[in-house]
Amino acid sequence: MGTKALKTTERRPLRSHKVLIADDQPEILTSLRRVLREEPYDLITCDSASKALEWLAENPVDMVIADERMPEMRGSDLLQKVRDAWPQTIRVILTGYPGSSTVAQGLTHGIDWLISKPWNDDALRLTIRQMLDDRDFKRPASGPPAEPVKSEPESADFCEQAAVPLSSIGADGRVLWANRAELDFLGYSKHEYVGKSIIDIHADPRTAQELLRRLADGETVRQFEARLRRRDGTFVDALIDANVRWEDRKFVRARCITRDNTSQKSTEARLRRDRDELETSIRERTRDLQGANDELHRESTERQRAEDTQRLSEMRFRLLVEGVKDYAIYMLSPDGIIVSWNIGSERIKGYTAEEILGRPQSMFYTDEDRNANKPERLLESAKAHGRIEEEGWSVRKDGSRFWSHVVITALRDPSGRLIGFAKITQDLTERRRADEDKARLSAQMLQGQKLQAIGQLSAGIAHEINNPVGYILSNLNTMGEYCQDLRRLLKVATAAASAREKGGDPTEALKEYQRIAEDIHADHLIADLVDVVGDCKLGGEKIRDIVRSLREFSHVDEGELRPTDLNKCLEDALRICWNELKYKAEVRKDYQADLPQVPAYPQRLGQVFMNLLVNAGQAIEKRGQVFLSTRVEGEYAVVRVRDTGQGIPPEHLSKLFEPFFTTKEVGTGTGLGLHVAYKIVNAHRGKIEISSVVGQGTEFTVRIPLGGPRVAAATEHPAERRP
C-alpha cells in the first residue's frame, strides 16, 4: 500500500489546486493539515461554515471538504451552497457517521465523495488527488449556445480598456464580446464584430475548428497559432490564449486573449526553413525509433490508467472496510502487530486507531489465553492453514469481556511470502446470551412440565401417603391400648410374685391375673402386636419410597450423565403414578433383571416414563391393563409401555409430539407431556416410537443407547457405524 501512495507524488497536477477544508474541531484541521502537508495543492482551513463561505466568495477553490457535524451549519448544507454558487467545485463530506441518512442523501444530491472519520491517511491523500485529477481531465458535455456575457461593473472597465485584445466566444464559435484592443487589432467596429463566427475570421477555417474543439474539451489553450483575416482583407499572425468558463458543465463562454505574432513570425519563417530541412532528415532517420517510442508510450499510458483504476478500487474498498461498524476489521504484521484499524474495531474493542496501531494483538486476549500462548498459536495455525475461525472471550479496552467470533486469514504476496494477517472479529455476546436464554428456557420448560405433572398427580400421591399414615396412626393408638392392657396384667403378675416372695398366698393374685388376661384377650394381643408393628413398618416404608421417588423427580438434573438403572427409573415413575393406575388397570411388569445401566439423565427419563404412564392411565376409560417391559435390543435399552386403552386415531399420531397438542379436557393435560418426552429422549440420542390401534390400545417404545448419547452421536455417522 505504501508504494502505491508514493507513486502518485510523481504525477504532478497541471496547475496548483486549492482545497478548502471546513471543520469546527481545530484538532481535526491540524491533523488534516499535517496529513496533507506534502501534497501538491494549496490548503485553506476554516473552523466554521460561515468562514468557509466568506473565503469562497473572494477566492474560488477546486475542492471543498466539509465536516458534516458543525454547529451553525451542517456540512451537507454548506456543500449545497457551494454547489449553487460554484458548480465546478468538487464537494466532499467528512463524517464520522457514514451511514447517516443526510449523508446518504447527499451522495445522490450533489456531494461528490465521502470521507469517513477516522480517515486513513493514504486513502485520504489518494482520494483528494484522484478527484482533482479526474476533474482536470473531465470531458464536459457540450451544451446549447451560451447567453451573451453580462457586464460585470467592477472589471468591465479594466477588460474594455485593457491594452491586450480580449474577446469571448460562445460554444458555437460566435463572438459574444470583444474589447477595444481586439476591435482595433482586426479593424472591425463592435457592431460588425460581435456575432461573427471565428471561422470567418481565421484565414484557415481548420484552425478555428481546432481551437473550438480543444476549448470544448476543457483544455486551457496556450500560444495557439492562427492566421487571422482583418476587415481590410489583410492577414495577421496571432497567438491565442483561451479557456472556457463552465457552469454546471455548460460551456458558457471562452475567454480569449489574442496577441500579434507578426514580427516574431517573419524571423521565425527564415529560421524555420533551415531548421525544417534539417528536421526532415532527422525525422526520417528517427521515424522508426519514434514509432517504437510511441508504442511504448501508449503501453505506459494504458498501464498508468490500469493502475489508476486499481488504485481507485483499492481506495474505495479501504473506505468501505473503514466504514464497517459491526465488525472489527484490522490487519496484523507477520509478528502480530496491529497495522490497521477500522471504525468497527474501535466500536467493538474500545481503542482508537492512535492508541492501538503498532501494538501487539495479543492484548485482546484474556490473561488465561495469553498465558497459554493462544494468540501466538492461532497465528501459527492461520499461517499453516491459510485461515482459521475461532470463538472465545476477548477483552475490551475497559477490561470487560465479550464473546467473539474471530476469523484470521494469512496474507501472502504473489511469491508466497507471508506479509501479515487480516483479522475480522464479531461481537457475539448478544447472540450467546440469546442462546443461553433459549437453553435456559428449554430447561425451564422441561422442569415446569415435570412439576406441573407432579402437581396434577399430587392428589393421587397424597392419597398414597394418606392411607399408610391413616393406619399407622390408628395402629399406634391400638398399641397404646395394648400397652395399657399389658400393664394391668403386669401389675397383677408383679403383685402375685411379691406375695409369694413374702411367703404370702399368691392364689388370689393369680386368679386376678387369669381374669384380666382373658378380659384383654392377652394371647391374641401378644400375637397381634407383631402384626401391628409389621404393618406400621410396611406403611412407613411405603411413605419413604413415595417420598424418595418424588424427591428423585422434582430434583433438577445437574445436566450430568449418570449410570442409570432403567428398571428402577420406571419403578419410581410407577410409584408416583400408582394412584392414577391402580383403580383402573392391572399393571403387569416384565423387566429384564440384568438390564445394564445406561449413561443417562435419570430424572429426565423418569419424567418420560411418568408422562407415558399417566397417558396410559388416561387412555383406559374403565378398566384395563398396562404392560411394562424392559429389554436390551441391539445397542439400545428398550422400555415399552403398553395399555389396553382407547387408542389414538391415525390422524393424531403425527401431531402427538408437537407442543400443546392435546385431546384432553382443559385442566387434564397441557399438551406438553409427549413433547417433553420426545425432547428428553432426543437429548439422549435415543428414539421414541408409537404404535396404536383405536379400540385396542397404544404402545410407546423408548430406546436409549447403551453407550450413552456421545457414543450414539458418533455411530450415527455411517462410516463409523459398528458392524
Binding site: A462, H463, Y471, D519, D528
Partner: protein, 141 residues
C-alpha cells in the same frame, strides 16, 4: 373391657347385637380398622372386595356398612348405593381421604351418606359407629 370404652358405652349403650361390615382395598387399613373395632360390642366383618361384601349382605343382616371411596373394583359411593338397594335399613358410612372428590358424586347419592375423613381418629370412629347403630335401633323401634 377398659374403663374408657365402658364410659363411652354407658353414653351410647346398644340394646341389640350388631354386625358391622368394613370394605377397603388396602389390607393394612382393614387390619387397623379391625383392631380399632375389635373390642366394641358388635361383630366386625372385613373384606377388600366390594362384590364379595354385597354377596354377604344377601345372607347376613348387616347393621352398618363402612366403605373406602377409591377402590379398583368399585367406587365407595357406588358400593353403598348397591348396599342401599339390597338392604335399605343398613346404615352407610363412607371413609375417604379425598373429601374434595365427593363433589363429583351425584347429590342424590351423596345426601344419603355419612362421611368420615381418613386418616381417622380411633375414638371418633368408634363413637360415630355407635351413634349410627343407635340411630338404626331407634328407627327400628
Amino acid at each position: 373391657m377398659i374403663a374408657a370404652q365402658k364410659s363411652e358405652a354407658s353414653v351410647l349403650n346398644l340394646y341389640h347385637w350388631h354386625t358391622v361390615l368394613v370394605v377397603d382395598d388396602d389390607r393394612e387399613v382393614l387390619a387397623a380398622l379391625r383392631r380399632v373395632l375389635d373390642r366394641e360390642p358388635y361383630d366386625v366383618v372385613t373384606t377388600d372386595r366390594p362384590g364379595l361384601a354385597l354377596d354377604w349382605m344377601s345372607r347376613k343382616n348387616i347393621s352398618l356398612a363402612i366403605s373406602d371411596q377409591l377402590m379398583p373394583e368399585m367406587d365407595g359411593d357406588r358400593f353403598l348405593e348397591e348396599v342401599w338397594k339390597h338392604s335399605p335399613t343398613t346404615g352407610r358410612l363412607l371413609l375417604t381421604g379425598h373429601p374434595e372428590r365427593l363433589n363429583a358424586i351425584p347429590a342424590s347419592r351423596r345426601n344419603l351418606l355419612k362421611v368420615m375423613l381418613k386418616p381417622w381418629e380411633d375414638g371418633d370412629l368408634r363413637k360415630t359407629i355407635r351413634t349410627l347403630l343407635r340411630e338404626r335401633e331407634g328407627s327400628q323401634g
